[in-house]
Amino acid sequence: MPITNQEIKRVARQLFSSSRAYVTPFYNRTTSKQELANLFADRSPLHGGAVLISAPMGTGKTFFIDQMTAVLKLEGRAKPLLVGEVSERDLQQAKGEVFFIDEGDIKTNWSDLDRGIQLIGQHLRDNQQQVGLVLGDYTLRNPSLLGHLPKHRFLQTFEPLDRAFLQGVIEQRMAEYLKRRPEEIIEPALYDILVPDGAAHVNSFRAILTFLEGLVRTLPGDRQPCWLTVEQAKNYVQDNFDPQFTTDRQADFLNFFLDHLAERPDLEQGFDQSEMLLLGKRAGYGDWLEFREEIIDPFGLQGLLLSRGVPGLDADGRFVRWPGPYYPSLMLTLMAEG
């Protein structure tokens, strides 16, 4: 029997939860688990250094580490350590062989990130029996930050969010919360938009699950089979899409960009700086600086553009949070479909 709208709406919070408000079952990431377990099986080569997990925000890094506390022998997290706020005293109080530190990402300003990683590096130099496990977005790959660490290793296989992964998570949660055999509730074409394979490295669980919860809220609470379609998603986005623009050129650019998106299905490489600027020129932008200030930064700030580049300081000492290559957000992809 198909799953009804009523049933899905009843469990939508749990089904699409991306926070620890609900203890959701863990799915997949077996390769990462194995890699991390192997890495920590013999810790001596890691001592005095950091293991870094660098992936976009909302991809489940913290959730992943929660699953690995036993393997990593992490002490209880009475007080979370955050890269941007950590002090030497906090680090001295970090118990155990492995300490865990989170939020090394673009939410924090550059000077605090830099100071935090420096402190961690100094602490590891002074405490050669400890290993720092540091989580963050692609900012952690910035060579200038890495230079503060005595040694480091990245987790290589933090599985990106692709279609099979998302499908598996939703099926597993349906089985858990509906207590019945899961049925597909998402149109295949919608999966293609939610988790385009080409953009697997910028796809975020939190963004997609929040989107799905919002979409489910628009369904009637009836006994019709639940079937989330591209059409519904498009309508939902059109009702909620409300970018904040200060100039008409920004709207013009967005129209050109959406046209371009509709014609260019392959997103594997994203859009590089020159491709973006070329589109910008159609809207009247002359140089990169002007384009960055009016398009890249505001679009990044509003979550319209996603970035796969490594954030860092530019030549003027400004923290560039959204460097290329660029990918459209889910909202933009759906707008382009319309």
Binding site: S19, Y22, P80, D102, T210, Q244
Partner: protein, 365 residues
């Protein structure tokens, strides 16, 4: 208007105000003092009911107000209302108002959690919860051991809430219950008292993005340290459209979004009516009359069409009033009406708003 004309108009304004018995502040709309909010706020009952209903039925709400259109007053009004009914609603409304908090320091996880804990214990002390909650659990929270009279104890303990600068260690020493991690405290209140904690957030209009990012990071870390039960915590954000984006970009969650509209010209005129009561000469002494007896609504209607914020409306009203009063004292009228030529061309909506929504153009070849 040159300087001489300005001073003539201003002199006439003083004369007119004293003639009709209006306060020297007229026609400004300064922030309403806390205790007068319920009586002086002009609200659309339909909109407010929508807000109340969303705050009551959603864990995560964003109340979005265009910058300069009364977000602060709305926040203070809603917070005041929910605080007045805390016991009835079994709710602890904690205010995180960045207009007053974290002005000198960055928002940090520790700082945020300490502030929340400080207000939680304050709200537990401030209300007579002992009348409705399990006493043993309640007394454990406020660390009362039957040694003294409860009301004296509460008064004595309140002093620790207002240490300046805040001395959180001193507070912990007085209320050991607060040593628990914040999620445990929130869950404790829910499990033992069915009390939910609600965080009411508000930001200054001109706040930079970084303090918001710091706040989001702290909230996320606080959630991720584990186990805040879904029903234990509500979050309500009073914000501008850009602040809304900043709040949800890096920690996306299913917010229920309510857009609170701009005040209409009629509402702004009603605000003036509520604030200012002319005291005009009467048969025996002076009589109170409605503002409409001395001041035309057209001032506000004209100003509303050309202004981008509530403050802008007031400024334009002031300018138009001075323009009208730029005359010989003998020509100052009792009932003030705008100079007919000073009125801008009639428009259906304010000149600068509502903000134009993005329009998807048909695909070009």
């Amino acid at each position: 208007m040159n300087q001489t004309e300005q001073s003539r108009a201003e002199k006439n304004l003083v004369f007119w105000r004293s003639l009709v018995g209006l306060d020297p502040e007229f026609p400004t709309l300064s922030p309403i003092p806390e205790r007068e909010l319920p009586s002086l706020m002009v609200l659309d009952p339909g909109q407010i009911d929508g807000l109340r209903s969303s705050l009551g039925s959603h864990q995560l709400t964003q109340v979005v107000v265009e910058p300069g259109w009364g977000c602060t007053s709305l926040f203070r009004y809603m917070l005041g209302e929910v605080r007045d009914r805390a016991m009835e609603r079994l709710l602890l409304p904690v205010s995180i108002d960045l207009e007053h908090l974290f002005r000198k320091d960055s928002v940090t996880l520790d700082g945020l959690e300490e502030e929340i804990k400080r207000q939680m214990i304050g709200l537990l002390l401030d209300n007579p919860w002992e009348q409705s909650l399990n006493r043993d659990y309640y007394f454990e929270c406020i660390h009362f051991e039957y040694a003294t009279d409860l009301s004296s104890y509460k008064s004595h303990m309140r002093q620790f809430l207002f240490d300046r600068p805040p001395a959180f260690r001193r507070l912990l020493a007085q209320f050991p219950w607060l040593k628990e991690a914040l999620p445990d405290l929130l869950n404790y209140l829910l499990h033992n008292f069915r009390i939910q904690t609600a965080l009411y957030f508000h930001f200054p209009r001109d706040i930079q993005p970084q303090p918001l990012r710091d706040l989001v990071r702290s909230i996320k870390a606080s959630h991720e340290r584990g186990g805040v039960e879904y029903a234990a915590l509500r979050e309500v954000y009073f914000c501008t459209p850009l602040q809304k984006v900043e709040i949800e970009r890096d920690f996306q969650r299913p917010f229920n979004v309510l857009r609170y509209p701009r005040y209409t010209a009629a509402q702004i005129y009603a605000m003036l009516l509520k604030r200012y009561t002319p005291n005009v000469p009467g048969f025996r002494g002076r009589n109170q009359v409605g503002l409409d007896a001395v001041f035309s609504e057209r001032f506000v209607q004209d100003a509303w069409r050309g202004a981008a914020t509530l403050g802008g409306v007031v400024e334009q009203v002031q300018t138009a009033v001075l323009q009208r009063l730029d005359c010989a004292e003998a020509d100052v009228p009792f009932l003030l009406e705008p100079v007919p030529t000073a009125s801008p061309a009639v428009a259906a909506t304010p000149a600068t708003t509502p903000r134009k929504k993005f329009e998807r153009k048909p695909r070009t070849a």
